[in-house]
Symmetry: C2
Subunit: 446 residues, 2 copies
C-alpha cells in the first residue's frame, strides 16, 4: 500500500507518523515544498517577541528524524502541482526544477492555507511581510533585527495580527494597525470586543478601522502605505488579513469544495474521491452545533484529522464528530476565547438566538487580585439549547471556555449547563462560576 | 405563608433572599445561632495569610442589610434546638437564655456542618483551634497576632488543613502537620498526591503521617501534643480532620438521614417530611455519575440548593440534578482539582474502573514558562463511560477540570470526550489539551 501525502505540516506529518507507527511496512511518502516540517506555527508571534530565541526552536521534529528514525520517505523541496486521478499519481516540480510523478494507492491532501493577499501594488516589495510559514517567521525576525525596525504597520486586526502587534510592541516597535472593515473583531459581541480594543489601545497601539489600503511603496529604507486619505510612513508592513485554503490542486482534480473553497471531506476525512483524503487547514469540517460544514483552520483539528486519516487508510473506520469552533488567543493582559456559534452564525444556521452578556469576577469576594471576566452566552429560544459563548478577561478565560465546548458537543440545553457542578475555590473564581452566572441569566430569557 | 429557616449561612441566606425577592409578602424568618451571616467561609485560610486584612472583609452582606433592605426577619443569637413536626414549630434558646417557639408552614434546615472532634483530652484548651465559623477565623487570627505564634501543629491533611498550612507558612510560622491515617490525600491517585506532598514539603512543612494523637496539654504559653511515641512542643494547634453534618436536630425529629448522617433530601431538596427542606453542608445530594446519594458539603451546591428551596417553597417545581464532586484547592504553587469518581468510589458504585495517569505541559512546545500538568482519568471498562478525573499542576488546572465536570453531567463516554474541540493557544497549553491526551490514553485501555 502506497500512502502519499501532499504537505508536511501538522496534518500531513501526524498522518505520516501514525501510519508508519501502526504499520511499519507501509510505504509512506510526504511531499513538502518548503524545507520545514512539523513546527509550531502558532508559536511564531510569541517567538518574535523574544530576540534571545531563534525561530527554529519552534521545530518539533526535524526532517531527518522523520526520515531516519521513523522511516518516512519525506521529500522536502517537492511541490505537488497536479493530481492525476485516472493514473492515481501526483505530478510536480522539485526545487531544483526537475519534475516528478509519484503513484499512490491512498492520497492525503494536507496543503494547508496561505495568507490572503490584498491585491494592491507593493505587496511583494522587501519589508512587506506575511506570516504563515516558519520561513516567514524567520524572515520577519531577521528583518526586524537587521533593520532595527522602530515603526511597523499591521494590516488586519484578526487574532494573528493582534498576537504580532503585542510581539512587536514588546520589542519596542511603535505599531499602527489598519483594517478596511469598520468593526473591530466583528465575530465578537460588541461589549466584549470593546474591552479588547481598549486593552490594545491602552498598550499604545494605534487602531485605524475602515481604511481602504491602496498600495505600498518603498523609498530607500522607508515604506509608505497609502490608504483612503491617509499615508503611513513606516519601516515594516505585516499583512495579516486572514488566510485562504490551498485547495487549487483539489479543485483542478475535480474534487468537491466546501465553505470558503476548503476541500470538502466527510466524517472519515474522505474527499469526493474515496481514495483521496484531506486534512488540516485546507479541509472543511462539520460544526457540532449547526451540523453544517464550516472552514475552521485550527491546529487541534489538523492534528486530530491527520491521525484519523492514517487510521482510515490503515483500514479502521474512524469518524470525527466535528468542531465546535473553540479558539483562544492572548493579547497583552487579556485572554480572549470563544466556542460555538455567535448570534449571527446561529441565525444563519436556522436557530432563534438569544444572547446575554454578563460581567463577573475572576476570584472570590474579598480575594485580592480579582479582575473582571466578561461573558457572552447564546442560546436557542425555540429549543433551549446552548449555542455558544465568548469570554474576555485577564485570567481564568482560556481554560474555562472548554466547559462550554464540551457542553456543545453534548448538545446540552442552557438549563442543563446551568446545573453543572463546576469547581470553586476563592483564588480561582466566585462560588457561581462566571459561566453559571451567564447560563442563569440566559435561561431566564429563553 | 411562613417560611422558617434554621441557619443563616450560604444555603439559608440564599433561600431567604430569593424567597423575599420573588415574593416580598412572604414571611421569611431566619434563626442563626451566631451573629454572622453570609460570609465567604472558604476565604478564611487566604485571609489568615494576610495580617493587613481583617477577617470581617469576608462578610458579603451584614445582618442589617438582610433585615432592613430585604425585609427578612433575621434573628441572630437564636439557637434552634427541636423541631415539633406535629405542631409545625421550632423550639430553641436565645443567646440571652430565653427560649422561643416559632411556627412554620415550610421549614428549611440549613444548619451546616461542624469540625470533627478527635475526642482526646485537651481539645478545648486555649490555643487549640478549629476552623469553620467566621468567629473561628477571627479567633485564630487574633491568637496568632497576640501571641506572636512562631510554631504551629495542624492535625489533619485535608484541603482545609493544607490551605491553612500555606497561610501560616506565609506568616513565617513553622508548621508541622500530623495525621492518624498513613496515606496523604487518600482519595487521590498516588502519583498525583506525591506531587502535592513534595510541594508541601519543599515549602518547609513537616509532614507526619500515621501518628495517633493521644492528647494536648498546656504549660504556660506552650502547648504539647502527645502522639504515639512522639511529643510536639508548639504554640498553636489547629484540628482540621474533616467535618460532620449538623443533622442532630433532623434526626431527633425523625427525618431520614443519608450518607455520613447528612440529612436525606430528594431532587427538590425535600426531606422525608415534604414540608421540611434541607440544603447546604447538612444535606446530602445525588451524584450525577453514580446516581447514588453522597455527602458533598461544598459552597456551590449550598447556594444552588438554597435557591432551589426558595423556588420550591414558592410553588415552582425545581429539581437539582446533583453534584459531580467537583472541587479545587490551592496549596503553595499547586492547583489541585478533581471531579467525578476515583477508582475506589467507582468500584463501590458498581463500575469496572480503569485509571490512567499522564503527564503533560501547561504551555505549548517551546513556549517559555511551561510546567508539568499531571492528570489521572478514570473510565468504565464495561460501558466506556467517563467516570472522573484528577489534576495537579501549577497553572491551567483549576478551570480545566470543569470540562470533565460538564462531560460527567452529560454522561459522556471517554471516546466522546476525546472528540471534544478544546481551546488551544501556545501560552495556555499544548495542541492536544492534557485532558484530551489523558482521554486518548484511557480510551485505548477501555
Amino acid at each position: 500500500m502506497r500512502f502519499l501525502i501532499i504537505g508536511g505540516d501538522a496534518a500531513g506529518m501526524s498522518a505520516a507518523s501514525r501510519a508508519k507507527r501502526r504499520n511499519p511496512k507501509m510505504e509512506v511518502t510526504v511531499l513538502e515544498q518548503t524545507s520545514d516540517v512539523s513546527y509550531s506555527a502558532c508559536g511564531m508571534p510569541y517567538n518574535l517577541a523574544d530576540p534571545e530565541r531563534v525561530m527554529d526552536e519552534l521545530i518539533v521534529r526535524s526532517a531527518n528524524v522523520f526520515i531516519e528514525k521513523q522511516g518516512i520517505d519525506l521529500r522536502i523541496g517537492h511541490r505537488a502541482e497536479r493530481i492525476d486521478r485516472g493514473n492515481k499519481s501526483v505530478l510536480g516540480k522539485r526545487v531544483d526544477g526537475k519534475t516528478f510523478e509519484l503513484p499512490y494507492d491512498r492520497l492525503l491532501i494536507a496543503t494547508g492555507a496561505s495568507p490572503k493577499r490584498l491585491g494592491i501594488p507593493g505587496e511583494d516589495i522587501p519589508g512587506v511581510m506575511f506570516l504563515k510559514l516558519l520561513e516567514d517567521g524567520r524572515r520577519i525576525k531577521s528583518y526586524i533585527l537587521e533593520n532595527k525596525v522602530k515603526k511597523a504597520i499591521i494590516i488586519g486586526m484578526g487574532y494573528i495580527a493582534l498576537e504580532v502587534c503585542e510581539a512587536l510592541s514588546r520589542l519596542g516597535i511603535e505599531v499602527d494597525m489598519v483594517k478596511p472593515r469598520p468593526i473591530f473583531l466583528p465575530w465578537m459581541n460588541q461589549e466584549l470586543s470593546s474591552v479588547v480594543k481598549d486593552e490594545v489601545e491602552k498598550n499604545g497601539i494605534n487602531l485605524h478601522m475602515g481604511l481602504q489600503i491602496k498600495g505600498i511603496e518603498r523609498n530607500q529604507d522607508k515604506l509608505r502605505v497609502y490608504c483612503d486619505d491617509t499615508v503611513f510612513d513606516t519601516e515594516m508592513v505585516l499583512i495579516a488579513v486572514g488566510i485562504t485554503p490551498n485547495s487549487q490542486i483539489a479543485e483542478d482534480a475535480g474534487l468537491e469544495l466546501g465553505p470558503q473553497k476548503a476541500i470538502a471531506v466527510d466524517r472519515q476525512l474522505k474527499t469526493s474521491d474515496p481514495e483521496i483524503f484531506s486534512a488540516g487547514d485546507c479541509a472543511d469540517a462539520f460544526h457540532v452545533v449547526s451540523g453544517k460544514k464550516v472552514w475552521n483552520p485550527l491546529a487541534l483539528r489538523a492534528n486530530r484529522a491527520g491521525w484519523a486519516v492514517a487510521d482510515n487508510v490503515l483500514g479502521s473506520k474512524v469518524e470525527l464528530e466535528g468542531v465546535a469552533g473553540t479558539a483562544v488567543f492572548k493579547v497583552f493582559d487579556l485572554q480572549i476565547a470563544r466556542t460555538g456559534l455567535n448570534p449571527r452564525e446561529a441565525k444563519e444556521s436556522g436557530f432563534d438566538p438569544v444572547e446575554i452578556v454578563i460581567k463577573s469576577r475572576s476570584r472570590a469576594h474579598a480575594h485580592p487580585g480579582s479582575t473582571t471576566i466578561h461573558v457572552s452566552m447564546t442560546g436557542d429560544k425555540s429549543t433551549g439549547r446552548l449555542l455558544g459563548a465568548q469570554m474576555v478577561g485577564s485570567e481564568g478565560v482560556a481554560h474555562r471556555i472548554n466547559a462550554v465546548a464540551v457542553a456543545l458537543h453534548a448538545k446540552m440545553s442552557v438549563e442543563d449547563f446551568y446545573q453543572c457542578d463546576l469547581a470553586y475555590a476563592p483564588p480561582f473564581g466566585p462560588v457561581w462560576d462566571p459561566l453559571l452566572t451567564a447560563a442563569n441569566q440566559l435561561r431566564k430569557r429563553l
